[in-house]
């Protein structure tokens, strides 16, 4: 589905996985940013990361998750979306939207040898 088409924001976009242009998973649509535009609201971008859970979880649960996982949040501009189906596919690489930082940090802990 083209993001220019008709879409259900909750049932058709929220909580979908995000895949970048290189086919890598880089998060989930955890929330969306809306802005006023020409008499209506427009989706400015997707919010990704535990920082986006505020408003979706009870306060105590959000604080617990923040304590465990931090409060980082990345923004994916609406224009960066290529298509929306079973996942949101981006036109850009994950790094462009700041989506791969946690994965890159974790990679430093993994030896790069021994696997077939």
């Amino acid at each position: 589905m083209n993001p220019r088409g008709r879409i259900q924001l909750v049932g058709g976009l929220l909580d979908l996985p995000i895949i970048d242009k290189d086919g890598r998973y880089c998060g989930i649509v955890d929330d969306m940013e809306l802005e006023e535009a020409e008499g209506t609201l427009r989706v400015k971008g997707l919010l990704v990361g535990p920082g986006a859970y505020r408003g979706r979880l009870p306060g105590w649960a959000f604080h617990l998750i923040r304590w465990v996982a931090g409060a980082r949040m990345a923004r994916v501009p609406w224009d960066a979306i290529e298509s929306i189906g079973g996942a949101v596919v981006l036109k850009v690489a994950a790094e462009t939207c700041g989506l791969h930082r946690a994965e890159d940090k974790a990679r430093r802990l993994i030896p790069h040898r021994g696997a077939m």
Binding site: R4, L9, V10, L34, L41, G55
Partner: protein, 72 residues
């Protein structure tokens, strides 16, 4: 700037202040919000993924504030 999560679950009230239901789904065209779906029909749509007939065009919305969505 608002978040989608701040809208979902808000009560939808008519001009007389009566609550018509809670907002469960929002439809957009090219990223622009076009329709709101509220009340039990919206919850059914969320759980089953089946599209229901439009229940409210965005043009009917007078104001969105922190505690409710007010209609014209």
């Amino acid at each position: 700037m608002r978040r989608l999560s701040a809208l979902i679950g808000l009560p939808v009230r008519d001009a007389a202040g009566r609550t018509l239901g809670r907002l469960h789904e929002i439809r957009a065209v090219d990223g622009r919000i076009s329709e709101l779906v509220y009340g039990p029909a919206g919850l059914f749509e969320r759980l089953t993924g089946r599209a229901q007939p439009t229940t409210l065009p965005w043009s009917r919305v007078k104001r969105v504030h922190a505690k409710a969505i007010e209609l014209n």
